[in-house]
């Protein structure tokens, strides 16, 4: 029977080849045979390409249950009419490209999304425009995918009735690049998602956070811009997150931070710029973090350290014209400051080695007072305050006395 076996094998080969090499293109348009996206999917074989022509398609609960490539031509509109979820993907290797999805339904019991990926692998979601959404791109227990070049513009006002732009939940190895997220609850949200790369995104005007990590480890985010969010980036209960080259700007408000660290261990924060935030970095219960070569410019507080932060190192950062460089709420310090540039440093450098000869104390008495009685902030930059700050500097009583930079730089550090 060897001949027959051979036949079967080649038959299988032909079927596989014909499926991949000779995959069909299916056109969907208002005047075609197939008038809806769901119709196109139903008619398609695995690995087919569906091309959607320009037009408006009023559809919800579109189910993509086979590996397909869905391409929109000239941004066809998929309108959910505020009724519910729009596209759900349950098959591996799906690509969605170039759609304009709007009017996702709002619900208080289920998280309706513009696109939801459920337990799939190797997906690509790109060039989408999402408007009037609840949740945008919701990646659920899916791995090895890419989400890039999407534009998500929400109209969120309150936290309780809005959703996140891009949400990952139990999803690993996802690349999120070049997305533009605005006015949603959290721009990008990761929960239980490891080894993800978040790169070159712009996340602004979000109600809560520009980027939010929860219980996610070994992720990298770099070259992103976070502007005017409730808080720029919140990293919580996560390990080994790398944060490089991001810009955190104008996150203003009573509970606003450029970067919020809570229960974070072994992270690296390098080459970032924090500009004009109420609080540049707010860190709480975070250990062994390396802060290297960051710029803190014109923030209210450059860094605010709340309890239980141990063995963090701050080296080679620039602290420029912040109202307060540092705030500590305790007298204990286990963190190391070395070789930073502080614009408020008034010491001298007699031996000309580029480092000041007198140590710099970043925590002022006034920042301690403001911590205790916030209303006293109104006395900022008063002569009296300068006098008591000076006396505290000479003999520290209220602020940690071992908190000092022994090698403050004389010139601004460049890299």
């Amino acid at each position: 029977m060897p001949l027959k076996k051979h036949h079967i094998l080649s038959a299988i080969l032909i079927i596989v080849l014909s499926n991949t090499l000779f995959s069909q293109n299916i056109r969907v348009c208002k005047t075609c045979d197939i008038k809806t996206l769901q119709g196109g999917i139903n008619a398609a074989q695995e690995h087919d390409t569906i091309i959607i022509e320009k037009g408006t398609y009023k559809e919800i609960d579109v189910l993509v249950n086979k590996p397909l490539t869905i391409i929109g031509k000239d941004y066809p509109v998929i309108d959910g009419e505020m009724k519910g979820e729009i596209i759900t993907i349950t098959a591996d290797s799906v690509t969605v490209d170039g759609l304009f999805i709007k009017n996702v339904g709002t619900s208080y019991t289920s998280d309706y999304a513009a696109i939801r990926l459920k337990r799939v692998e190797n997906f690509v979601i790109k060039n989408l425009v999402l408007e009037k959404l609840f949740f945008g791109i919701y990646v659920e227990k899916s791995n090895n995918g890419k989400v890039f070049h999407n534009k998500i513009i929400g109209d969120a006002e309150e936290e309780y009735n809005s959703g996140n732009g891009i949400q990952l939940w139990y999803s690993n190895n996802i690349e999120i690049e070049h997305n533009f997220v605005q006015r949603v609850r959290d721009g990008i949200y990761l929960e239980f998602s490891d080894n993800c790369i978040i790169k070159n995104n712009v996340s602004s005007h979000n109600v809560r956070y520009g980027l939010h990590f929860m219980f996610s480890n070994d992720d990298i985010y770099q070259d992103n811009l976070f502007e005017k969010n409730g808080a720029g980036v919140a990293v919580m209960f996560s390990k080994k997150i790398k944060m490089y080259n991001n810009i955190f700007r104008e996150n203003w408000g009573t509970a606003s931070y450029g970067l919020l660290l809570k229960e974070i261990n072994d992270a690296e924060i390098m080459y970032n710029t924090f500009e004009e935030n109420t609080i540049g970095i707010n860190t709480e219960g975070s250990n062994r973090i390396k802060y290297i070569h960051n710029n803190f410019i014109n923030n209210g507080w450059a860094i605010k350290v709340l309890g239980a932060c141990y063995t963090n190192t701050f080296t080679g950062n620039n602290f420029l014209y912040n109202s307060f460089d540092m705030a500590y709420n305790s007298k204990v310090n286990d963190n190391e400051f070395d070789g930073n540039y502080w614009s408020e440093y008034t010491g001298y450098d007699l031996d000309k080695n580029g480092f000041g000869d007198v140590p710099y104390r970043p925590v002022k008495l006034f920042s301690y007072i403001v911590n205790r009685t916030p209303e006293t902030i109104i006395l900022l930059r008063s002569l009296f305050i300068d006098i008591i700050d000076f006396s505290e500097k000479v003999s520290p009583v209220f602020t940690p006395d071992n908190l000092l930079d022994n090698n403050p730089k004389i010139k601004r550090i460049t890299w």
Binding site: W252, T254, E276, W301, S323, I378, L379, R381, L383, D386
Partner: protein
């Protein structure tokens, strides 16, 4: 009144002290800019200078001028002139010449440095406006003190004490009371405390520009309304005008009743 203003003004313009004052600001501006190489840092240093030094110089100059020109004033009083116009003329003469020294002294180096092309121009003009207001307020207060005290030494003493109180001691008491009452809601109290002192008032006005990100860190609706909107700016300016108007009115009133 304008004639007297003119005489006082030109008299002061010829005096050595105006030049010293002008030269001091010129030097300060140049040193700040060309040693610092950074406009925003210079503006912060300048703020400290303006808030402390301008009131001091206004006070001392006002008292000094009043006592020095006393004979001339008595001569004028013998003429058929309105008393209020004599004293207000002298007051404005001093205040305007001081303001001019301030504006020119600081303005010239900044203009040469390229102020018009930088975006610090608004911060800088706000600084100058506050400086002018402080000059007007403290010269008026100094005139008040001088009018009420015949004794020169006593007058100087009170004037310096007033400056010391408003510039330093007031903030100390203010801070103590805030700490003492920290269990109570304090945002209204702290705003009222600020408004009652012209030095604090001008400081807050400048803070609104320089440290807005820190000021917004405090959770209080009143604070938020005051600092987050133009409301704060408007209230501060109105209060500064009130602060000029009250002592000036008292000069007019006091001078009418005073025996010479």
């Amino acid at each position: 009144m304008f004639k007297i203003l003119k005489y006082s003004f030109f008299d002061l313009m010829r005096s050595r002290w105006s030049y010293v004052y002008f030269a001091f600001y010129l030097l300060l501006g140049i040193v700040l800019l060309f040693l610092n190489n950074d406009l925003s840092k210079a503006v912060i240093t300048l703020m400290n200078v303006i808030i402390i030094l301008v009131p001091l110089i206004g006070t001392i100059f006002g008292v000094m001028y009043y006592y020095n020109s006393k004979e001339f004033t008595e001569l004028l009083l013998a003429q058929p002139l309105k008393r209020s116009s004599i004293f207000l003329g002298q007051y404005l003469g001093v205040a305007i010449s001081l303001s001019m020294s301030l504006i020119l002294g600081l303005g010239i180096p900044f203009v040469f440095y390229g102020l018009f092309m930088s975006n610090a121009i608004w911060d800088f003009s706000l600084l100058l406006i506050t400086g002018v207001f402080l000059t007007l307020i403290f010269t008026a207060l100094a005139f008040n003190i001088a009018l009420s005290n015949e004794n020169k030494i006593k007058g100087f003493g009170y004037a310096i004490l007033m400056w010391l109180f408003l510039a330093v001691i007031y903030d100390g008491l203010f801070l103590m009371s805030l700490l003492f009452f920290e269990d109570y809601p304090l945002d209204k109290l702290s705003l009222i405390g600020t408004v009652l002192n012209p030095v604090d008032l001008s400081r807050t006005l400048i803070l609104l520009k320089l440290d807005i990100s820190a000021l917004l860190g405090y959770t209080g609706a009143v604070f938020k309304q005051f600092f987050g909107t133009n409301f704060g700016l408007i209230v501060s300016f109105t209060m500064l005008i009130v602060w000029v108007a009250l002592p000036v009115l008292r000069i007019a009133k006091k001078s009418k009743k005073k025996d010479f």
